[in-house]
Symmetry: C2
């Protein structure tokens, strides 16, 4: 479904959504451990997310990462797109040239409806929304 990198990216963005604010920035080393991702690896991902405006960052002392209001309104799909790219999300599950209704592969009919539903959900859920669910205790964000 997603690459490892995308999963890590989602985890870190959610972690920031829950634990950071503009006045309470968080450093890589303090993200790496709680979300259980190697420091150097997550550092690179965070840089990429920052460059694409999915998260905010300032450097130097007192610096770190955090989410501003714009960042909080991004969707999960936005995050995945930044890391994994557009293509594979709509690709045919049997790797035909393109996935479409007119000439569906044998798996299309039994998969596409569910797949579209997942896509729709990923597109509708803002980071903010997911973070809220965690604070309510409806879902969990550990290792």
């Amino acid at each position: 479904m997603f690459s490892n990198s995308s999963k890590y990216a989602i985890k870190s963005v959610l972690f920031l959504a829950i634990n950071s604010t503009e006045n309470k920035k968080i450093m890589v080393k303090d993200i790496s451990i709680p979300i259980n991702v190697p420091k150097a690896y997550i550092a690179k991902l965070l840089q990429e997310l920052a460059k694409k405006n999915m998260i905010s960052s300032v450097r130097g002392p007192k610096g770190g990462f955090y989410l501003n209001e714009e960042n909080l309104n991004r969707t999960v799909l936005d995050v995945v797109r930044v890391i994994d790219g557009e293509k594979k999300l709509n690709a045919c599950m049997l790797s035909l040239k393109k996935c479409n209704e007119e000439k569906p592969c044998p798996l299309h009919n039994i998969l596409s409806e569910s797949r579209n539903k997942i896509l729709k959900n990923l597109k509708n859920k803002r980071i903010k929304d997911l973070a809220y669910e965690v604070t309510l205790g409806n879902s969990f964000l550990p290792l």
Copy 2:
């Protein structure tokens, strides 16, 4: 979702289901081209599928691959399991230790239902069933 190898495996099994019988075996070179997968690569996959009894084979002249009745009754999920292994199909989408309802990750609630549906469908569809759909013209198995 699936690895490239699994996709290729599914394609080749379906191709055999549609085009082969015990009296009409098919050689790698005659599978490779129509399903658009490199010969040496698909050869290796076919060997693995044969070893795990997902397809049938005989070697020597007049040899090749085909599906017997048992093979035709395998499910798509069986094929995927043989190639990709069990684990990743039920893994948490955010790579938590395990995916479960008691301690769901933030994505669990918006994904698991669809995912389970896909799994169920893959488990219920026999190779035979999918091949039949293709012969009816309801789905297509080209490149």
